[in-house]
């Protein structure tokens, strides 16, 4: 059963697969290309970073207050990106949306990553029945397309920020468990682990002090690559009305609201979409640069 962990691809497996590919040594991208990715990624991420900072300076509720006389107005000095169908400032809503999306996707990845790390490394190190149970669980969860699982969970739990968080985290954790497990299994038989055991180190100590540093790299790469994926899932669910709930702004929900004015005011769709696109592109580039940087064979 354990073999399925390495033979079957899963959507969350990109980092592990890329890792393996590079370890077999054929990426001929030069260091300068990696640096270019890193630079471009950081540059693109300046946008959501600035938006998030701006959102923190805004007075509370200034982005939800409707002002019907100003509805669907074009850009001017008071509303640099114009207003939406309720007269709310688009720039302010985009900024708060950046904060909501970034905080949500980063915290989902953190929690899911930690849960997966814990389950995967315990299973991989412990072996036996614990391992079989964990692999069964992980394989079962990975049989559901992630977005579908998140949608089904929100359908059952109800809509809301907490439910969205839970839905996204539950559909993200098994990927980490799988990677952590296969990495720990590969390390378990190594000489240094045997030596540690012979010296009388406790299992907890071996896992946390000696195995974790080895698997932290690939786990971190996977996490970096998952943040944009989770951000897109959140955006899609909010677009469908099953994610962030109004009046809270979210890029996905803004695109959905803007669709009603696709012809008379396309900026309402174009602007939040561009924000998602640039943020996801920046995060992807950063993740790829990190993956290349952290490859031990290329250091």
């Amino acid at each position: 059963m354990g073999s399925s962990l390495t033979s079957r691809p899963a959507s969350g497996d990109d980092a592990a697969r890329g890792w393996q590919r590079r370890r077999h040594g054929h990426s001929d991208r030069s260091t300068s290309a990696v640096d270019a990715r890193l630079g471009a990624g950081l540059l693109l991420l300046a946008l959501p970073a600035v938006l998030t900072l701006y959102s923190m300076l805004l007075p509370v509720d200034s982005y939800t207050a409707a002002s019907l006389p100003e509805r669907l107005s074009g850009p001017d000095w008071r509303h640099p990106l114009g207003t939406d169908e309720l007269g709310r400032d688009v720039l302010r809503r985009i900024s708060v949306g950046a904060r909501v999306s970034l905080v949500l996707s980063v915290s989902v990845v953190l929690i899911a990553g930690l849960a997966g790390l814990l389950v995967g490394s315990t299973a991989g190190y412990g072996g036996g029945a614990v391992d079989h149970t964990a692999v069964f669980l992980v394989d079962t969860f990975l049989s559901f397309p992630p977005m579908l699982l998140a949608l089904a969970l929100v359908a059952v739990l109800g809509t809301g920020l907490t439910q969205l968080f839970v839905g996204l985290a539950i559909s993200t954790w098994p990927g980490y468990a799988r990677i952590a497990r296969s990495l720990v299994v590969a390390l378990r038989g190594r000489g240094f682990v045997e030596a540690l055991r012979a010296l009388g180190a406790s299992n907890t100590r071996i896992i946390f002090r000696h195995l974790l540093p080895h698997i932290a790299g690939p786990m971190l790469v996977q996490a970096m690559l998952d943040v944009p994926a989770v951000l897109l899932m959140e955006g899609g669910m909010s677009f469908l009305g099953l994610g962030v709930q109004p009046p809270d702004p979210s890029w996905g929900a803004m695109i959905d609201e803007g669709r009603r004015h696709l012809v008379d005011d396309p900026a309402l769709v174009v602007v939040p979409g561009a924000a998602v696109l640039l943020t996801v592109l920046g995060l992807n580039l950063l993740g790829e640069a990190l993956a290349a940087r952290m490859d031990p064979r290329r250091a």
């Binding site: 059963m1 073999s3 399925s4 033979s7 079957r8 691809p9 899963a10 959507s11 890329g18 590919r21 077999h24 054929h26 990426s27 001929d28 069964f136 669980l137 394989d139 079962t140 969860f141 049989s143 559901f144 397309p145 977005m147 579908l148 699982l149 949608l151 089904a152 969970l153 929100v154 359908a155 059952v156 739990l157 109800g158 944009p228 897109l232 955006g235 899609g236 677009f239 469908l240 009305g241 099953l242 996905g252 695109i255 959905d256 803007g258 669709r259 696709l262 012809v263 396309p266 769709v269 174009v270 939040p272 979409g273 998602v276 696109l277 996801v280 592109l281 992807n284 580039l285």
Partner: protein
């Protein structure tokens, strides 16, 4: 090979059992009363009791599980709470639409992504990096943005295509294009990486040293070696298209499974939600199994590496 097939089938069966259990538990994880939330707060208590009885939710949980598995074995998924139609009929009708759309998107995506990726890998500079950059950008495009933008450009401004619906084959062009963009982008990147990895192998150097024409080396040796592992990627993408066309189908009013799921969530129609999730997961498992077996049949290293 025989041992590999048997082991892989056992793994598939075990995972399928897990899927059945998790889908069964889905409705039981609900905080509060699923029947009340289906009928709304104003429901009469007699109606609540009747629906609970109809769904079998008043039985002991072991009995519920037994009936659930028996019904699935008989391909009976119950009736929709919203429209009272048999769930099996709703799902199979919408599945046909999803399948056609997914096949169209997968064909467009594969036929453009794989050649582009191979081309980008073999031409180092200029075109190669331009294609990679374009693929990176296209991979970051959110579908929930692409769909309205394509509508605006191709349907509203240029008037070339219908905005939404499913009456004719032309209605499929926009949703298929929307789904094909991320598919093509992903395949371009994967193909490029695979071909790059194979081109520098020793056997390719040996073939070149023997004086084989470059076109022959690429067509007969590099590409087959690079493309076989892509099978599982394509299967995965196909599975995602079958299950994950939720947004695209909703935007273009394409009556597939994704749209069925979203409307069922809006109607709190739990039997249909459950069925959609179950069918999608089973397809996902089945496709992965098929891809693995095909991969093993084509590449002896896969089936031998296992034992």
């Amino acid at each position: 090979m025989g041992r590999y097939v048997i082991r892989r089938l056992v793994v598939g069966a075990v995972v399928l059992t897990g899927v059945l259990l998790l889908t069964f538990l889905l409705i039981h994880c609900m905080p509060g009363d699923p029947v009340r939330s289906m009928l709304g707060d104003a429901a009469q208590s007699a109606d609540v009791v009747a629906l609970r009885h109809r769904l079998g939710l008043d039985l002991p949980i072991a009995e519920q599980l037994r009936r659930y598995l028996l019904n699935i074995a008989r391909l009976d998924l119950g009736r929709s709470v919203y429209s009272s139609q048999p769930v099996m009929m709703l799902v199979s009708r919408s599945f046909r639409y999803t399948l056609v759309l997914a096949l169209a998107a997968l064909s467009i995506g594969t036929l453009s992504g794989v050649p582009l990726g191979a081309f980008a890998a073999l031409k180092d500079r200029g075109w190669g990096s331009a294609i990679s950059a374009a693929a990176s950008a296209a991979w970051a495009v959110p579908v929930f943005w692409l769909a309205p933008m394509l509508t605006l450009g191709l349907a509203v401004k240029l008037g070339l295509l219908p905005v939404s619906g499913c009456e004719t084959a032309v209605h499929m062009v926009l949703p298929a294009l929307t789904l094909a963009v991320p598919t093509a982008a992903y395949l371009t990147r994967m193909t490029k990486a695979r071909v790059e990895a194979v081109v520098v192998c020793d056997f390719v150097r040996a073939l070149r040293a023997r004086g084989l024409r470059e076109s022959r080396v690429v067509a007969l040796h590099v590409l087959p070696n690079a493309l076989v592992p892509l099978l599982s990627v394509v299967a995965l993408l196909f599975g995602n298209l079958l299950a994950g066309a939720v947004i695209t189908e909703s935007v273009f009013a394409w009556p597939g499974m994704g749209r069925l799921l979203v409307t069922s969530i809006a109607h709190r129609d739990y039997p249909v939600i459950q069925a959609c999730v179950l069918v999608a997961a089973c397809l996902y498992v089945g496709l992965n199994l098929a891809a693995d077996l095909l991969h093993a049949a084509l590449d002896p290293r896969v089936r031998e590496g296992l034992d």
